[in-house]
């Protein structure tokens, strides 16, 4: 289990600090992640990778010459916030565009996708690539639904080598897509990891048994069996992957035998002695195979095998030099320290000109966001209690942190004379940045979407509120991937928006429409909260890792009521 930490909530940040200190030759810290410590030429495509912490050397350990330019690090098993992704990318950008790589998990898809949109709006060409190598996580014909595991190493390394070779962003994106399309992984587990400060493992496997196809956050496997011999396990892993070979596979493969944490080096070498034999017996030639820890899951017991079927494009990129903590191949050239860049101080916000009416509306919004933050802070223990039935009990903390940041940002903007749209937009961004994880991204996205129906030139009309609420719901459902009934905040948001827009469109006054909508949200949230304890533990863990099923509906209803209470 994980024993070494100070405050569990500081674990990821402290680990990153220690990593940067030890590996200062390779990386330097930046807000939300790490950048290469060595110089890269202007115009080079920046390969930026990231995801939750707890998977070292993924992802900060991939940064260095010949591999990634930067990595973004979220909290343990949680996606980094959109703002951090955006900030790291902006600093890593050298004018050649950015390839943004991550594993295919809901929170990451959401935050990396949003960051890419925002960066494009800032004029940076960004391409995204979600790795989908885990054959156990969805069927062959649903490859886009598969999650990313140790294939991250191969896909990002190949993209990084293409970028290092001076290829264009189009070409680097094609390499990443091709690498992902030709990469497959399959894993097994003997026991689960324990989160810092956690009471026990995320999951257990019975003594003498092995879970097949388990995910790196404890997502359920496809089967369970008695622990086989090393030779039998090698056959299981190899045969499953060979049955998933891509089109025109060729005969040359990069193989990665990856330990998840507590399955140790010598065990991996014993297993490799059979894996290597079996792959060769199948007529494959092994190109620079790797055995070690490349994508871990804290101290999880288990391992996975990854194969990337190489071709004339990919093989030289796989063999190209790189110099990182995770992987070192050949001689990546004399390291030239990157020029010391002053971390750009936060830019003083400049708000669009606003009319006095809109400024007044902005102050009202700031006031209501303040009430909402106080209500959430008061409800934090209760939200935590409800969330603990369905997840790890940190929903209240995330909501409190996000709403407090939103209230402060909104108050500052209002005080600086910003209009309604700008104040709500400022609240949205601050919430997403500080809350982190999926719920922070969802709330930031919802509020930001709603703000786009407002403007800085008028007071708030009821119709703008109705359209803004609809935009928020649409964005949350589209990018968050949840539908009503999934036991998420959508369960409460959908009736809220439906009633709010319906009553406004029927000509009801805003305050009355909002009251009815808040009641509908509350009723739906109560029903969802009643269902949460009925979810099985395994389902809860999986859904947590996908950002679903927490106390989100309850906190949404609370927020709806609180805003109303303000008048």
């Amino acid at each position: 289990m994980t024993h070494l930490f100070d405050e569990p909530s500081d674990f990821a940040a402290s680990a990153l600090r220690g990593y940067c200190d030890v590996h200062s030759r390779l990386v330097r810290p930046t807000e939300g992640g790490v950048l290469r410590a060595t110089a890269t030429p202007d115009g080079k495509v920046a390969v930026v990778v990231g995801g939750g912490s707890g998977h070292y050397p993924a992802f900060a350990g991939y940064v260095g010459a010949g591999f990634a330019d930067a990595a973004v690090a979220g909290d343990v098993f949680a996606s980094p916030s959109t703002r951090y992704i955006r900030s790291v990318c902006a600093r890593a950008h050298r004018g050649g565009g950015v390839l943004l790589g991550y594993g295919n998990y809901a929170g990451d898809v959401l935050n990396f996708g949003l960051a890419a949109e925002q960066l494009r709006a800032d004029g940076i060409d960004v391409r995204i690539l979600a790795v989908t190598d885990d054959v156990a996580s969805a069927a062959k014909d649903a490859q886009a639904k598969r999650r990313g595991v140790a294939g991250d190493l191969a896909v990002f390394k190949l993209a990084g080598a293409a970028a290092e070779a001076g290829q264009t962003l189009d070409a680097v994106e094609r390499v990443a897509q091709r690498a992902n399309a030709r990469t497959r992984s399959f894993g097994v587990a003997f026991g689960g990891c324990t989160l810092p400060g956690g009471d026990g493992p995320l999951f257990t496997v019975p003594d003498g048994r092995m879970a097949i196809g388990l995910g790196i956050h404890g997502e359920p496997g496809v089967d369970e069996t008695a622990i086989p011999s090393a030779a039998e396990l090698a056959a299981l892993l190899v045969d499953r992957l060979l049955g998933e070979a891509p089109e025109q596979p060729g005969t040359r493969v990069a193989a990665i035998l990856n330990g998840l944490g507590s399955t140790k080096h010598e065990e991996l070498f014993v297993l490799w002695s059979h894996v290597g034999d079996r792959l060769r017996e199948a007529g494959l030639e092994l190109v620079a195979p790797q055995v070690g820890e490349f994508v871990t899951s804290l101290d999880m017991e288990g391992c996975s095998l990854t194969l990337t079927w190489l071709d004339d494009t990919l093989e030289p990129l796989w063999l190209a030099p790189c110099d990182t903590a995770a992987l070192r191949i050949g001689d990546a050239g004399a390291a030239v320290a990157a020029p010391i860049e002053e971390e750009t101080p936060p830019v003083e916000e400049r708000w669009p000109d606003a009319t006095p009416d809109s400024q007044a509306a902005g102050r009202l919004i700031a006031d209501r966001v303040g009430s909402l933050a106080r209500a959430l802070a008061e409800a934090e223990p209760e939200l935590g209690r409800i969330d603990a039935q369905a997840g790890d009990g940190d929903h209240g903390q995330g909501m409190t942190r996000g709403s407090a940041a939103a209230a402060a940002a909104a108050a500052a903007a209002a005080q600086q004379g910003a209009g309604a749209a700008s104040v709500l937009g400022a609240a949205a961004d601050a919430w997403a940045d500080r809350a982190g994880g999926t719920s922070g991204a969802i709330w930031g996205l919802g509020l930001r979407s709603a703000s786009q129906s407002l403007d800085d030139g008028t007071a708030i009309a009821a119709d703008q509120v109705a359209r803004g609420a609809e935009r928020a719901l649409e964005a949350v459902m589209r990018l968050g991937g949840a539908k009503p009934g999934d036991k998420t905040l959508v369960d409460a948001l959908e009736p809220f928006v439906r009633v709010l827009a319906g009553r406004i469109d029927d000509g009801a006054p805003l305050a009355e429409a909002w009251r009815d909508a808040a009641e509908a949200a509350d009723a739906a949230a109560s029903e969802t909260a009643r269902m949460l304890p009925k979810l099985g533990r395994a389902a809860r863990i999986v859904e947590r890792s996908r950002g679903h099923r927490d106390a989100g509906a309850v906190s949404l209803a609370l927020c709806a009521k609180t805003v109303l209470g303000g008048g």
Copy 2:
């Protein structure tokens, strides 16, 4: 726990095979270990390291340019045999002599020491260095009794760099001694590893507790405490080591924060963030600090901190390039594959000329060794049962394997016309090679010593037997480090030799003297066997790792009786 293996007894050999396959760029397999795969110049000092398996990357992962030339690998947590050490050294030797490095454990001290003597007899200049960095294992004024843990990495790396720089054997030996004298480690544990095929961990630490100063084979610690925060643990480790600084410490240190197996990367980085701060606050400058897994103990939970106080000699050696699986620093130069060497086929034994009398005595010895091997094979389950009360129950297997090899070698030698001394010597060497571990080395040493009182020119005189037995006892006690009463085979060997020599010196016939001696051995062995179950579990584990306290007295008595039974 350790889950991946085929036959537990094949674990170490399979792991080595897999390692050599994956890292063929760095190493090539040889009998008993690995050699560098890259060329080294003639006349270069060969740095050969080794010890038991289960500690990867120690020791095979240290082989490569700028570091070790070869590594010898024993079974899991067991010293390699003298013959394997000798064979690996002979192949690694490039004419400049050999520095032989290992951790300070009884089995290793014995086997590496014997191998060094034999290599010197073969004309190769060999120096030995037992690493003694673990401050928890003996007091400050008894540094020579301290065991070797993660300081191996620093000491062997520094010696390897000196050898790579073309220094003479004298100079390399001085560097190794200086490095060892300036290196200190201190560790903690949260839980024990499980041997391949083992039912449970070698030791446990209560939930929420931390053992302080525990050894890498589970040797008892010096204290136990509640698990502290990372900051508190950093203070504990740093302060203890700073209190052990060598003379003229200077201000520049190499620091190694080493994970033992299941204490994972991000935990180590969290801990490092405090260790680094605290060392700097103490006025020290950190030179290329290392955080990772360098000397493990299978899947043991725990970590250790090592400091090597550098000076003008050591610092450039610490920073010198090296290219190994465990550690890669700078650019170690273009790798030139070593010339493919045919593994020399085993040399046909040529025996010294022997008289017919001595040949007859040789045949008698071969016959008795054969009886003894059959008796041991028959007694294997019973010896295993007795040993299980005091160790891991493999004593019977080791004795059966060793005696069978000895019987085969003796029979071959006798059949080829060897005399008494040669036949017994052949039996001795085969026993040590095949049995492995400490008991194999002890039996090989005892028989080899006894054979030196015989010759190939005469029949066997009673006086030769008496003097041979005394030589065997003296060698076993001197090199094995056990005294009567330590619950080892010395408990039975000492009375056997005392009675045998005494009765012969009193003029008794050999058969009668032997019968009395065997009875004395049997009585002593019975008493020892009676005491074995009374040993505490912790003591048993420690003593096993030092090669003490097994069913050795019982098997010695059995052998004494069996030889007698033959006439």
